[in-house]
Symmetry: C2
Subunit: 143 residues, 2 copies
């Protein structure tokens, strides 16, 4: 290839790299700004449940379905992370993070949440909802 | 540009796209397989702490530093997500997820963990570690 082909090609590549860097910097600024703003509005709480032992398997299946559907279809549900205690498997704790109060209000009106809530009503022995404040709002979870 | 330049160029691009697809599919299989395998090995627990009220601010600063450093430098620390109860700010719960038992053992030998542990010893009124099993091992947290 001669200079009439190579020179415009090199010029084009240079332009792409220059703009690429600018875009990358803008992108990072936007993402970090949004992350901070989003974390500020988040609703973070712990749900502590005790389940009737005979219905634990049914309860867990219903919870699993509800969590998987919420995470898949609701952008405002940041996480629902549920754990069962090894020594007391009937005791479940759920870390709930919603993008905002509005996202939470939407969540509790969804068909999948209502199905879970009504379907597991008799399985739940006790439920305690604890409103919390994250200690490190920017803390990440690796996927 | 004439055919002697364009044809090999098009051929090369076709090869790249073909291999690209294959690589993408292999990549997805590897990632999803790894995610399932990784979730199986994870060590997931809740740490429940009560902090002496007069030292709450110092404790939170130390915890924040420890969490941020761990997430930044330890690939095996999946998350350390700490919340304080709104109605009892001295009560802190930390959801801890480590990639494996080995990752946890490494974590508690790091200088930043030891600094936190020693530095906050007198600030902590009580500490309860609850070993847990995730109800939905594949549950994701959106960033």
């Amino acid at each position: 290839m001669n200079a009439t082909i190579i020179n415009p090609l090199l010029h084009g590549l240079r332009q792409i790299f220059r703009r690429g860097w600018l875009l990358a910097v803008w992108g990072l600024l936007l993402v970090s700004g949004n992350a901070a703003a989003q974390a500020k509005d988040q609703l973070v709480r712990l749900a502590k449940l005790e389940i009737h032992p005979a219905q634990l398997a049914s309860y867990k299946a219903a919870l699993k379905e509800e969590i998987e559907t919420s995470l898949r279809v609701e952008p405002g549900v940041i996480t629902l992370y549920a754990v069962a205690e090894k020594d007391n498997p009937n005791r479940i704790t759920i870390l709930e993070i919603y993008a905002s109060q509005a996202a939470y209000k939407l969540h509790i009106q969804t068909p999948h949440f209502l199905k879970y809530k009504v379907g597991t009503k008799e399985m739940v022995k006790s439920l305690e909802l604890i409103e919390t404040v994250p200690v490190v709002p920017s803390a990440q979870v690796k996927q």
